[in-house]
């Protein structure tokens, strides 16, 4: 332990002035980035008089569970039980993570490693879609979902999520880095194209896949759009949507602010968990270890 401490200190010692300034800057920045998370956690436990205190405080002084009780009370009154919304969200998000990463990877692999006529055009089209704001595509999306006749189904939740251009882009860039010799070696070893993809390409791209899994989870877990636009039945709607209806139009309202604070926390926690699980993979830099 002592040795490790000493090493840390020596590393700090080895930094020049510029690096120390950068380090300080990064620390300040990361604390700043952490503030909303601290705020969400504290907010959920604030009693009413603290919720409305001005100027707002980050840390709770007298933590209470009253907001949780309020949320439970509110949900008890709803026609569809809360667990149904929760189930919908878990089910949709779980499937979305699988389907989005699979679709992105399957799309990125040929773009990165196969030269088919028009591949540049396809990739350019995917990049182009990165530029659209989500609001722009709401109406076309609605038309697609409605024409396909998948309104009011889980597939209606999933399909709009599955086209994630940022995922394709990220994975393609990552796959570009894989040396062709690696794929050729596998082909000579007897692998068919799908085996190469599954056993070589995907494991090597793990960091990018993990990143996309996080993005896919976040976009599906917090998604209220598909519930609002494509779902008619209350029992098909998502947890995020349900919580947003609870807390909507509360800007000038005192009632239920406590429930809203708890709802925000509940919505946030799964994101945090998924990120913590996968972050090791995201940070892990790809080791081109077999390649000199």
């Amino acid at each position: 332990m002592r040795l490790r401490l000493w090493r840390r200190a020596s590393r700090l010692h080895a930094m020049d002035g510029f690096q120390k300034v950068l380090l300080l800057l990064m620390i300040v920045l990361s604390v700043f980035m952490l503030l909303p998370i601290v705020y969400i956690f504290n907010h959920a436990f604030k009693p009413y008089h603290e919720l409305f205190v001005y100027p707002p405080t980050f840390f709770v002084k007298e933590p209470v569970l009253q907001n949780w009780n309020e949320l439970v009370a509110v949900t008890a009154r709803s026609t569809v039980p809360m667990v149904r919304y929760l189930f919908n969200s878990v089910f949709i998000s779980g499937l979305a993570v699988l389907l989005v990463t699979a679709a992105s990877a399957l799309c990125a692999y040929p773009l990165a490693k196969h030269r088919f006529p028009g591949y540049k055009l396809v990739f350019a089209a995917i990049i182009l879609t990165l530029m659209f704001a989500p609001e722009v595509v709401q109406i076309p999306r609605y038309l697609v979902v409605s024409q396909l006749g998948i309104m009011n189904t889980y597939f209606g939740h999933l399909l709009p999520l599955m086209a994630m251009p940022i995922g394709v882009f990220l994975l393609k860039q990552f796959m570009d880095q894989i040396p062709n010799a690696l794929l050729e070696a596998a082909r000579i070893d007897g692998a068919n194209e799908f085996t190469v993809f599954l056993r070589i390409v995907i494991p090597v791209c793990k960091p990018a896949v993990a990143t996309i899994a996080i993005l896919a989870f976040q976009s599906s877990w917090g998604n209220t759009e598909s519930s609002a636009l494509f779902m008619m039945d209350e029992e098909m709607k998502s947890f995020a949507f349900y919580l947003s209806t609870l807390t909507n139009n509360l800007a000038n309202n005192v009632a239920m602010q406590g429930a809203a604070a708890v709802a925000a926390l509940i919505l946030f926690v799964p994101n945090l968990i998924v990120f913590v699980i996968l972050q090791g993979k995201v940070i892990a830099t790809m080791a081109h270890s077999g390649i000199k």
């Binding site: 070696a185 596998a186 000579i188 070893d189 056993r199 077999g290 390649i291």
Partner: protein, 368 residues
């Protein structure tokens, strides 16, 4: 049994009319160690990749054994390939890297285990089976790549510059291991390199290539002593063969001699007869002579060149002397290390004309 017949093969990329490999035609014998050698961009790797099935064949046929393989995917050609950058799967352990091909063939588990361990023992990798490629040194990685190839006991081994990423000492060691491997496996090896020393030391036969064209196919000895043209003569051998531009003339005594603006060297009978047969009297020719076939003047000789000593390179046992003899390039000769010369002083040297080669001054083709 795996002879490889490469029948008038061409490689063109669709974007250009220019062929990267033109009219490549040869038969690689069973159990032969064949080396493709040439400068980078000469098409040697492309040819190897066409045999492997990694590159499409634009024209011509490739047979492995008696099977036409033009349209067979690499995995059905019964080949193994070792790449320059090793191409080990970074996500798998050494064991899994070697076993990958066997697993894909759905061999029983104990059989896979057995053959991987046998290969690992032969390549002294037993201690590293659990490691990831990133934890190995360059030489070990190369041995894993070799292991991956040998466990599959293919008919043909293809190697694409496998040693060029290793340092000089390791390269010599691995060279020996590959030669040993070829002897024990007794299968056909096709080996690509840009290093003429590797080609000379390992090959049963060498294919020298340039600009997509075969320049010569022959044994290392023959390629060295009777190169087909000035390119092969210059590419094989280090230091390079000396080329001297001059003219064949008949002396008043009736003997033939090689004349440059500075000196004249009488030619021995058999070479003179050969040159006469080609009708080269009073014609320009390029004389080629290797550095080891030139010596410092002895007791008596009638073929003496006087050059101005410019610089020398000590190679340990030998010393290379560079002399100015009125040609575009300095003449190099190999002498013993203890011989020293004084800069800018004349030095009298004697080429062994019985070892001299004559080339066409424009096409570079050797007269024989």
């Amino acid at each position: 049994m795996a002879t490889i017949l490469i029948n008038h093969v061409y490689k063109r990329y669709s974007s250009s009319k220019h062929a990267v490999v033109s009219d490549f035609h040869m038969e690689i014998k069973d159990k032969e160690f064949l080396v493709f050698v040439g400068p980078s961009g000469c098409g040697k790797s492309t040819t190897l990749r066409m045999i492997a099935g990694l590159e499409e064949i634009s024209e011509g046929e490739v047979y492995i054994g008696d099977r036409l393989v033009n349209d067979l995917p690499p995995k059905d050609r019964d080949i193994a390939m070792v790449f320059q950058n090793y191409a080990l799967y970074p996500n798998m352990s050494v064991f899994e890297n070697i076993a990958f091909g066997l697993r894909l063939r759905k061999l029983p588990r104990h059989e896979i285990d057995q053959s991987v361990r046998r290969a690992a023992r032969a390549l002294e990798l037993d201690a590293y089976l659990d490691r990831k490629p990133s934890q190995l040194s360059g030489g070990q990685r190369q041995r894993v790549a070799l292991g991956r190839a040998i466990v599959r006991s293919p008919q043909v081994f293809l190697m694409d510059e496998p040693l060029s990423n290793l340092d000089a000492k390791l390269r010599v060691q691995m060279r020996m291991e590959i030669i040993k491997l070829h002897k024990t496996l007794g299968v056909t090896f096709v080996y690509v390199t840009h290093d003429q020393v590797e080609a000379m030391t390992m090959a049963d036969r060498i294919v020298v290539m340039k600009d997509g064209l075969i320049q010569q196919i022959d044994t290392p000895e023959a390629v060295y002593s009777t190169p087909a043209n000035t390119f092969v003569a210059g590419f094989i051998g280090s230091p390079q063969m000396n080329f001297i531009e001059g003219r064949i003339q008949k002396e008043p005594t009736g003997r033939l001699a090689f004349h440059t603006s500075r000196f004249a060297i009488p030619l021995p009978q058999d070479i003179a007869a050969m040159l006469e047969r080609h009708g080269l009297i009073d014609k320009r020719v390029t004389l080629g002579i290797r550095p080891e076939n030139i010596s410092l003047e002895g007791l008596y000789s009638d073929a003496v060149i006087t050059g101005i000593f410019k610089l020398d390179e000590l190679m340990g046992a030998d010393r290379y002397l560079h002399l100015e003899i009125g040609q575009e390039r300095l003449l190099v000769l190999r002498v013993q290390a203890h011989i020293r010369a004084v800069e800018d002083e004349p030095l009298r040297i004697v080429p062994d004309m019985s070892k001299a080669l004559f080339f066409h001054p424009d096409t570079g083709v050797r007269f024989a």
